[in-house]
């Protein structure tokens, strides 16, 4: 027996397998979950500081309360808009065959290719009433709230449409057909039969949109800085994450801000977790009294002009509110005045971002795949069910709060041991890890365990049966998860700023450029980032299509 065989034998042993699973679970709990929610413990340990600097300071309290309220208001409004505007498009994608469907499909995913920092800048120069508006821009909006809502709609819209399309595609159309043969008009059938069936998809879509909006930092800071034409200050319009970014930056000079930072992070984490539960219960449990039917008005609305108006306005919304603002930045560069600049700092930042994103993706894959396999293959065990819920936590928690919590955690453990880049990597692992796990769990659950069992009885060791049988079947989903993790890490601002105030990644670099009003450079940097992300996006689409079913 060769040494490689001995190694294989050792790895395949029950003892090693148990140890490996335990290692991955411990990694997940101690490097991801614990740091994410660590800040909650400060509510106990640092209570006196919070009492002194925050609770007894009405001005600070006002700032915090209004920022958190604004965050939740925006997230709620955005989710509702996404649902109303996204449902007709999801419907078309799931149920209809038409020319250009493929094109529409690509169009919906486009905003995902644009890092939110770039998106924030692009959308802001399109909508916002700035002193020197670029040509073709609307330049109409001066309300920061409205601007941020419009911005958040852009990047959360694809999540809603994707979730709704997936679940609509899974609902058997025959229920609806049965309803219609029994005399119901199309609208009545859809409203009373199909819509109640897709609550699950609605929950997923709503949670994704809500969490994404609640979390967004970089794009929001950039949009607001563009609107104001200067770096943001404390008295400006603030959301929870921008407040964290602002205070974290200031806390380097003024440590008395730390209790306030702690308090706002705790508030955001708790409210996000509560909201996750409430949203789930509300959509699944609340019975909307929709049984009643109005045959004639519904019949009228089901025919003729009305459905056409509905479809056309949904598509127009997609184009004007989602697509054009995403890519408006390209016209800005074509018509703007070039300025000479030193590109080296940006290239440095870009390299840092790439190193971070690559390392993060590698860690996600190495520990996320075993975790996903454990969750998917032990559905009946309580531990697996618990881990399944825990994995979603970093998805829901606003990344700025997550970053701050994580920074505090490692500082408490050992202030000297963690260089800034490691902290950034760890914080990015925390919120991208669920993307890999979710994708792989979904893929493994769709595959009959009999394949691997058969391979085992044919003489394959667990590692061999994974590599030769399961892996080729879930390759597409693993790649999809990896690319999602990579692009999310590449575009992340909030967590980076919250964990290390003076970080040097590409999105942070763009934020600084906008703060300094170097708009042309910022735009160029955005475009480079967009092109890189777009290449990854194309790869993602190719790999997910190729997956063998």
């Amino acid at each position: 027996m060769g040494s490689s065989d001995k190694l294989l034998e050792f790895i395949s042993g029950r003892g090693f397998r148990k140890g490996w699973t335990a290692f991955n679970i411990i990694f997940f709990l101690s490097f991801i979950i614990l740091p994410t929610v660590f800040i909650l413990s400060s509510a106990v340990t640092d209570w006196s500081d919070i009492q002194e600097h925050v609770l007894s300071d009405p001005a600070t309290m006002d700032l915090i309360i209004s920022a958190v309220v604004v965050s939740f208001e925006i997230a709620a409004i955005v989710t509702v808009i996404d649902f109303v505007a996204g449902l007709p498009v999801a419907w078309m994608m799931a149920r209809k065959e038409f020319r250009g469907k493929q094109f529409l499909d690509t169009l919906i995913d486009m905003p995902l290719a644009v890092p939110t920092a770039a998106l924030g800048f692009s959308a802001a120069i399109f909508w916002a009433a700035t002193p020197n508006p670029p040509p073709f821009s609307l330049s109409a909006i001066s309300s920061p709230m409205l601007l941020i809502v419009l911005l958040h709609v852009v990047f959360s819209y694809p999540y809603m449409v994707r979730s709704l399309t997936a679940i609509l595609g899974g609902i058997d159309e025959t229920y609806e057909t049965a309803g219609r043969t029994l005399g119901a008009s199309r609208l009545t059938a859809v409203r009373t039969i199909t819509l109640p069936l897709f609550r699950a998809g609605l929950v997923t879509g709503a949670i994704l949109c809500f969490a994404r909006s609640l979390s967004e930092t970089g794009g929001t800071i950039i949009a607001l800085a563009t609107l104001y034409g200067r770096k943001m200050v404390e008295g400006d319009f603030q959301t929870g994450p921008t407040l964290i970014g602002l205070w974290k930056d200031a806390s380097v000079a003024d440590p008395t801000l730390v209790p306030a930072l702690t308090f706002v992070s705790i508030l955001l984490i708790i409210l996000a977790l509560v909201l996750l539960v409430v949203l789930k219960v509300a959509i699944m449990k609340v019975r909307v009294p929709l049984r009643k039917v109005w045959p004639s008005p519904e019949k009228l609305l089901s025919r003729g002009l009305f459905p056409k108006i509905k479809d056309t306005s949904a598509i127009l919304f997609l184009l004007i509110v989602v697509i054009v603002p995403s890519f408006f930045i390209f016209t800005y560069v074509l018509t703007g005045t070039p300025s000479d600049a030193d590109w080296n700092p940006f290239i440095d930042a870009l390299v840092t971002s790439f190193v971070v994103a690559s390392v993060v993706t590698a860690i996600d894959l190495a520990t996320g795949i075993p975790m996903a396999l454990y969750i998917a293959k032990n559905r009946t065990s309580k531990l697996s069910q618990l881990l399944d819920v825990f994995v979603n936590i970093p998805l829901i928690v606003p990344t700025a709060a997550l970053g701050f919590s994580l920074g505090r955690f490692w500082n408490t453990v050992d202030p000297a041991a963690m260089p800034p880049i490691v902290l950034i990597i760890l914080s990015h692992v925390a919120f991208t890890y669920p993307l890999v796990v979710r994708n792989v769990v979904g893929a493994v659950e769709g595959i009959d365990p009999a394949y691997e069992e058969t391979a085992r009885t044919l003489g394959a060791k667990p590692l061999q049966s994974f590599r030769r049988v399961l892996l080729p079947m879930i390759k597409g989903s693993i790649l999809a998860g990896a690319i999602m993790a990579f692009t999310r890490s590449l575009g992340e601002t909030g967590a980076t700023l919250a964990v290390v105030a003076n970080a040097n990644t590409a999105p942070v670099f763009i934020v600084n450029l906008v703060n300094d009003q170097s708009y042309y450079l910022a735009a160029m940097a955005c475009i480079i980032l967009i092109i890189i992300s777009y290449v990854f996006m194309l790869l993602l689409r190719r790999f997910t299509r190729e997956e063998v079913v």
């Binding site: 394949y451 069992e453 058969t454 085992r456 009885t457 044919l458 003489g459 080729p472």
Partner: protein, 355 residues
């Protein structure tokens, strides 16, 4: 024994499989057949009890070390591999030299008549081809025991019947030891050297197809392997030439000699195929024809006997003009074909239940 939380899936499952034997594990859905197979394969670890291969205990041995190959209901052909790659999966893992592999692949493809499809993917094959490919893959590892989980279930009725013969002759030619799980009694009767009847996780009878058909050990086996008619009553006579059972309505019927004592409550079972329609005056049981179902070669006749329930019989199709629904007819059988059992403790209906 394997317990799933509170449900015991296979309990008191004592079974010995002989070398080169084709054994069918026959039982209703949910009886624990698949669990038994998984325990043998090592995919499920039993809570109690042992699995022995050639006297060597393997209960806790990993599946890949047992050389017991499982063929699942859906065949589980690896969708990312071609027919040839699927078949050579086992030898590949075992690092069989390239030259031997080629030889082996060639003869296996020939054996299952897939030579022309070697480079196809499983999804491009018909159901029958997939089944043969999975079989070749299983044989390629020269297993000590081949475990077939309802191997013919996913096929059309006609193909299923053709493949019974193929599968059996293949197993015989190669001298394989096979455990074949099925819920189809016809399949088991045709294919098996021995049949093990399993019910609610217990083996109730093991024997050759003729034994379990002719000498069932309980009313359940009598009914599950070839449907039976039942007559409930009290044993009123028992001797070396045979026994007599009488019901409350005073109907008296004859059966084989029995161990059930005179005066005991008993149930008499006779296969539907051994039940005949007779002239009224020659018969011990009389009833009215309730229903006639044309089944092609034969006609299935249900007769309602007052006080004794329904009796079924099969008559040749050519006789069907002689009877009509509503006719009074007699029912009878050769006394040697009727067997008497003690009345089951939980009642007859409970005994015959298949779930």
């Amino acid at each position: 024994m394997k317990r799933f939380s509170d449900v015991t899936a296979a309990d008191g499952l004592d079974l010995t499989v002989n070398d080169r034997e084709y054994l069918c594990l026959l039982g209703p859905t949910g009886a624990g057949k698949t669990t038994a197979l998984r325990v043998i394969a090592g995919l499920t670890v039993p809570d109690e009890g042992k699995v022995l291969f050639d006297g060597r205990e393997v209960t806790h041995l990993e599946p890949e070390k047992r050389n017991a190959v499982l063929l699942s209901q859906t065949y589980s052909l690896f969708p990312t591999m071609t027919v040839a790659e699927n078949i050579m999966f086992g030898p590949d893992i075992r690092k069989v030299p390239e030259k031997d592999k080629e030889q082996m692949l060639f003869s296996l493809l020939d054996l299952v008549r897939l030579t022309s499809r070697a480079d196809s993917y499983p999804r491009e094959l018909s159901g029958g081809m997939q089944q043969r490919c999975a079989l070749a893959r299983a044989i390629a590892t020269s297993p000590d025991v081949l475990l077939l989980d309802e191997p013919l279930r996913a096929l059309d009725a006609r193909l299923r019947i053709d493949l019974r013969r193929d599968l059996k002759s293949l197993a015989r030619t190669l001298g394989l030891t096979v455990v074949h799980v099925t819920h189809d009694q016809d399949e088991a009767l045709v294919m098996a050297d021995r049949i093990a009847i399993i019910r609610a996780g217990r083996i109730v009878q093991v024997g050759t197809p003729a034994e379990v058909f002719d000498e069932p050990v309980s009313p359940f086996v009598a009914n599950f392997v070839g449907q039976s008619n039942f007559f409930t009553g009290t044993v009123v006579h028992s001797g070396p030439e045979g026994s007599v059972v009488e019901d409350e309505a005073g109907n008296r019927v004859k059966a084989r000699p029995t161990d059930v004592a005179v005066g005991e409550k008993a149930v008499l079972a006779v296969k539907v195929g051994h039940t005949h329609l007779l002239k009224l005056d020659a018969a011990a049981l009389k009833g009215k024809i309730e229903r006639m179902l044309f089944e092609g070669r034969v006609v299935h006749v249900d007769v309602d006997v007052a006080g004794a329930g329904r009796f079924s019989a099969k008559i040749p199709s050519s006789y069907r003009g002689r009877y009509q629904v509503g006719d009074d007819v007699g029912i009878g059988w050769n006394r040697n074909k009727a067997k008497v059992f003690p009345y089951p403790e939980g009642g007859l209906e409970n005994e015959l239940k298949v779930d």
